[in-house]
């Protein structure tokens, strides 16, 4: 620790932003339940998430120069007290999560009305706020055990949210049950890893952990801790062979939940994985390098091809999008495995871009579900012509999913290919392009179903309500905007990647 470290005393309102980020939605949940009025649940949830979004933007602006904010909860200084630590990487992910949360809620208003029985609405929004809190907390905190607590807050509420789809299809219940079993195994692996880290170092503060591991070097306990943490978080991230829970959860969850989960849940887990791999463990350690090369590269390539291939043959559009998510997670892991600044910024930029893209696509499906009665392709026949604005938003974000130039998806794939060339891995660069071709096929099927087939004769579909169209077009517009203006996304991703790659040193200062 350098000498110029100032003792943190929060004096002004601005100093409390890191904790307000998490506390505001956390308190919104019980307030919603205590007030208990259905008409007030949505406004409170929306106000809390909008406040969280404003805070995350303020935080992002403060740390874009490469610095970090350290907040001491309750005034107890780390390493003994719990620390909230915001740097460029966490601020970027916080902005993504709170931004998506704020945009999803207006969409959810109509969608929840249509898909969830009235008596559950109040509890649904409370649960949504808890999930939101958990995801923000996982990213904001600088304390390893705190990560586990927030991880469980978000996971437990996610299981409930997924099970709400049971009104429509009873398989949502088994999907939620499967997710519960696997999510709990993952989280428990994660705390076993933390126990081993604590045994080896005697601390739980991430910066302190990084310092001590760097000082002492590796031993078997630390290596075992690394394995447990990577596998545990891998389950949450849905790294290819550990992805079994994801397709069912995304398919049978209510639309608003699918949108939110697809855009944020796996992304927060990837952030935690990055934080541990690069900031806590020193990326210079050989065991980590080998893990990346031997485990991450083959599995991410497998995800890119196998999951995309499976996506091509789906008959249900939500399930197709879920498999495509698994494939896109492959790209993000590939970026990590490159182990250079370009690859890491590709991961972070793709994390944001894919979050926006998938949210827009799931919103389109959610809007169509209002009239179609099912998410199977032939429920959606010709709906693009009946719902022109929804259809156009889906095609725009579909193009971003493929990575067509001029969309956000192109930027992240372009940076990823650049990173591959930087390492001289031209085979991997070709693989990235080939798997994008598979994306062309499944996005083409969306186009075909929406525009080239005759609408069902008894279909009553009309354009989606305005509360759905606006969020959808904000996201679809963002897909295109971030394809041209990369300063915000790529710029902050690069700052974040440099901070991460500096490893333990970057964590200390």
């Amino acid at each position: 620790m350098a000498a110029e470290e100032t003792h943190h005393v929060a004096k002004t309102f601005m100093d409390h932003l890191p904790v307000l980020q998490v506390v505001i939605p956390l308190f919104a949940a019980p307030i919603i339940i205590f007030i208990g009025k259905r008409s007030l649940a949505w406004p409170i949830a929306f106000a809390a998430s909008a406040a969280a979004f404003v805070i995350s933007c303020l935080l992002l602006m403060q740390v874009l120069d490469g610095g970090f904010i350290s907040y001491h909860v309750g005034g107890w200084a780390p390493p003994l007290g719990i620390e909230y630590r915001i740097d460029a990487a966490s601020a970027l992910v916080l902005a993504l999560i709170s931004g998506i949360g704020t945009i999803v809620l207006p969409f959810a208003y109509e969608s929840v009305k249509a898909e969830i029985p009235k008596k559950n609405h109040t509890l649904f929004y409370a649960c949504f706020m808890l999930c939101f809190t958990g995801l923000l907390g996982m990213v904001a905190t600088g304390d390893a055990f705190n990560v586990f607590v927030f991880l469980e807050i978000s996971s437990l509420s996610t299981y409930v949210l997924v099970a709400q789809g049971a009104e429509h299809n009873k398989r949502a219940l088994t999907a939620a049950y499967d997710y519960l079993i696997m999510g709990t195994i993952g989280a428990t692996f994660f705390i076993i890893g933390l126990a081993m880290l604590y045994m080896a170092t005697g601390t739980l503060n991430m910066a302190d952990l990084a310092d001590r591991i760097a000082e002492e070097g590796t031993n078997r306990t630390i290596r075992a801790a690394f394995a447990f943490i990577v596998v545990g978080m891998g389950l949450k991230v849905a790294i290819y062979p550990l992805h079994h829970w994801l397709p069912n959860a995304y398919t049978f969850a209510p639309s608003a939940v699918s949108v939110f989960l697809a855009a944020t849940a796996t992304k927060a887990a990837i952030y935690v994985l990055l934080r541990f791999m690069f900031s806590v463990f020193n990326p210079g350690f050989v065991f980590e390098e080998w893990t990346l090369y031997i485990v991450f590269i083959p599995f991410s390539l497998l995800a890119m091809f196998a999951a995309s291939f499976v996506a091509v043959f789906q008959t249900n559009i939500k399930r197709m999008l879920a498999y495509s998510s698994i494939a896109q997670i492959g790209y993000m892991l590939l970026g990590i495995a490159m182990l250079n600044a370009t690859g890491l910024s590709a991961t972070l930029v793709h994390l944001v871009n894919h979050g926006i893209t998938k949210a827009a696509l799931f919103m389109g499906v959610g809007a169509m579900l209002l009239y179609s009665g099912g998410a199977f392709y032939n429920n959606l026949n010709g709906l693009g012509r009946k719902m022109p604005l929804t259809g156009a938003a889906m095609i725009a974000s579909g193009l971003s999913l493929i990575g067509v130039p001029g969309t956000a998806g192109f930027i992240s794939k372009w940076v990823l290919v650049q990173a591959a060339f930087e390492n001289g891995w031209w085979i991997i660069a070709i693989a990235i392009m080939l798997s994008s071709l598979l994306a062309v096929i499944y996005v083409w099927r969306i186009f075909e179903v929406l525009y080239l087939t005759e609408p069902n004769p008894d279909s009553t579909a009309k354009e989606a309500p305005i509360t759905m169209l606006i969020p959808m077009w904000i996201l679809a517009g963002a897909c295109i905007w971030f394809g041209f203006d990369t300063e915000l996304t790529l710029g902050s991703a690069q700052v974040a990647a440099e901070g991460l790659l500096a490893g333990s040193a970057g964590m200390a200062h």
């Binding site: 219940l173 428990t188 604590y198 008959t315």
Partner: protein, 149 residues
Amino acid sequence: MEQLIDWAFIVGHINYWLFIVLMMTGLYVVVARGNLVKKIVGLNIFQVSVFMLYISIGKITGGTAPIYPVDLTGHIEPDPSIVYSNPLPHVLILTAIVVGIATTSLGLALIVRIREAYDTIEEEEILKIERQMTAEDNKEYGAAMGGRA
């Protein structure tokens, strides 16, 4: 020659051995049992094993409760010869116990709903019902798509 089997090491780490046995038992039950309630029980054993690991970490040989001896005037007299157990892992595990209870109750609640919807809590029968549902979906929607599905 060094002793082939280090008994002191094995017996001294009995907690850790038990942790591993419990953990593997729990995981095995989760994977091998078809009954949904039994799976939750397995998950519970798995989580409890981790509690045991944490509690073992905090124990220090000869350690006593981590309370400073205070004399009547309230003055703290630190005695360097007293060894204290580490309370932090114990506190951490209180949190994990709460999480474990929440997980178990949520899992059981889901099982109740599953029982209502499927009329069974045996995994095999549920899978059979679900396979049937998928097959019907595929028949209905696959044919409509001209066999392209």
